[in-house]
């Protein structure tokens, strides 16, 4: 973190422009001197901040002081709040502010105040800032592709200012980089269901199912695409049960005899909703039986629960519960 971009980190008490200000220490009892330089700078900066905040001084030097305070501790929301008041009063260049925020985000991107402030800035800049902002967020996501704040902010930018056109490609790119990235799957769902250009969930379903099935076959132990698949059939469980692509991906994964927990779970869900399996399904499930499991239940749903209780032992109680609530039709 570079707190020295304006003033070289020189103590404020030695700078001419602060000579007229008396620093105001935190009022919570005795404040012994802290023997480390960084802490000293931090404490001094905050003491000066309290003084100008109390005097409500909305000046260029106040803006510089908030910048210094933010560099030292970006979590202090009162400093951010005051900075907005100063920016407004000075009618400051908000493009520059965006660049400043980007530098902070590069080193400390998990901070609510920063992102809230950023939204405030972008709101004022309006649609002109859209392309730049979407690009800047990409840069932050390239450092941490699951940054919750950055995603939340990105969704807001898309809804407030637009820029949906390239978003599905962007999700695609991120998933190519890491197919286990649940944030990118979530964003994909967000785009597919909300983009004004794609025609909605039903129009996108067939191509999305194809994409998801491929992702599953490449990594069957990835919970994200399995959940995404369910999401594609939101409120339409019948279509899920009747789509041969769904049961077939389950079968393919089970036949590999590896990483089949989610495939069995999906097959169990299908069976519970009326899926009629051909004998191939039963054979594949029977083939999973290892020597140390008890003989499999003749009923397929029961057999699946028994296997899962065994191989997914952390969640054994869940699978026992599933077994106990199997609908009569499935048993």
């Amino acid at each position: 973190m570079d707190s020295r971009e304006d003033d070289g980190g020189e103590p404020l008490s030695r700078m001419a422009e602060w000579r007229d200000v008396t620093p105001l220490p935190q009022d919570d009892g005795p404040n012994p001197v802290v023997p480390i330089a960084y802490k000293e700078e931090f404490r001094e900066t905050m003491d000066y901040f309290r003084a100008i905040y109390k005097a409500d001084e909305r000046s260029p030097r106040a803006l510089r002081l908030t910048r210094r305070a933010i560099h030292l501790n970006p979590g202090n929301y009162t400093v951010w709040h005051f900075r907005r008041l100063v920016l407004e009063a000075l009618n400051a260049d908000l493009d520059e502010e965006l660049d400043f925020l980007q530098r902070i985000a590069n080193s400390n991107s998990k901070n609510y105040q920063l992102w809230h402030h950023r939204r405030w800035v972008v709101e004022r800049l309006g649609a002109n800032a859209r392309a730049k902002e979407l690009n800047l967020i990409k840069k932050i996501l390239s450092l941490d592709a699951k940054n919750y704040h950055a995603w939340s902010h990105r969704q807001w930018v898309l809804q407030a200012l637009g820029g949906w056109e390239d978003e599905l490609d962007y999700c695609q790119q991120l998933l190519e980089e890491d197919i286990f990235n649940n944030s990118a799957w979530n964003q994909r769902y967000f785009v597919v269901t909300r983009s004004p250009f794609l025609g909605g969930l039903k129009a996108m379903r067939a191509s999305e199912v194809r994409y998801t099935v491929e992702a599953i076959l490449a990594n069957p132990n990835n919970e994200c695409p399995w959940r995404y698949l369910r999401g594609l059939y939101k409120d339409d469980i019948k279509a899920l049960v009747n789509d041969p692509e769904i049961s077939s991906v389950c079968l393919k994964v089970i036949n590999t005899k590896n990483n089949y927990v989610f495939a069995l779970k999906m097959l169990l869900d299908l069976l519970c909703h009326g899926f009629q399996p051909c004998h191939e399904f039963r054979d594949s499930v029977v083939a999973l039986r290892t020597s140390d499991t008890d003989p499999l239940d003749p009923e397929l749903s029961m057999a699946i629960c028994d296997i899962l209780e065994h191989v997914d032992s952390l969640r054994a109680s869940y699978w026992i519960w599933r077994k106990n609530k199997l609908p009569v039709a499935a048993v």
Partner: protein, 311 residues
Amino acid sequence: MAELAVDKHVKYILSVEKNKDSFESVVMDHLRMNGAYWGLTALDLLGKLDSVNVDEVISWILKCQHESGGFSGNIGHDPHILYTLSAVQVLALFNKLDVLDIDKLDITGLQNEDGSFSGDMWGEVDTRFSYIAICCLSILCCLNKINVEKAVSYILSCKNLDGGFGCTPGGESHAGQIFCCVGALALTGSLHYVDKDLLGWWLCERQVKSGGLNGRPEKLPDVCYSWWVLSSLIMIDRVHWIDKEKLVKFILDCQDVENGGISDRPDDAVDVYHTYFGVAGLSLLNYPGLKAIDPAYALPVDVVNRIFFSG
């Protein structure tokens, strides 16, 4: 298996409170109210709340209250709903809610037209603030001051395909946000809107091989999720779906048994935040010797009972 080092943790929490010049406490200066809630609630669960000076704490809390009625994270900072809830919770711990002028506390004004809540005058919206507002008002027995129906419908608009909840509509499911949403729904008698089996399955998938819980798929386990995930599972009555013994072991493995305190993962540095979540998680798991904690109010059960049943 190791045991909970109760005395060490008590000592650690008390030392954090006293040590105002440590680097941690300087940086946490602005959120000291949250720190007070974490430390004091953990102390109460450990049965040692009587080791702090009540009058000192209460007088400091009242100095953090502003004209608007809201509280700030420390003296001289701006009020925010995040700190208002912590202040109200700490007052509840000490049975001092009567020092509050409830009419002065303007939470109603933070509710937006769509039912959501903002955190302060700057208008940041997040389902965290829905929970905080609802929890605060519920503790003060005045939920009728807001439009509960709209608040619930906003939370439900943040429900995802996996049964979980995000910070705003479309936001990714995250265990912390799920706690807030499920907690708010529990406190408003609206849990019937939760798809309990679907969400319960997502939540129990958060348990990883080490026994710890993560907050999202493919993320590392962290002791704080022992609270966010576990309390949510309890509220929707699905906590028996995870392996509790392994989770207890994971939390105990995160203790600093020499100097006290609990960290996010084994062998990391301890802090008061994870110490609270570790102790609270163990309390939810009925660990012997700890007071029971209420999963929705995030306060000891006897404190909640005192609020609602002491008439």
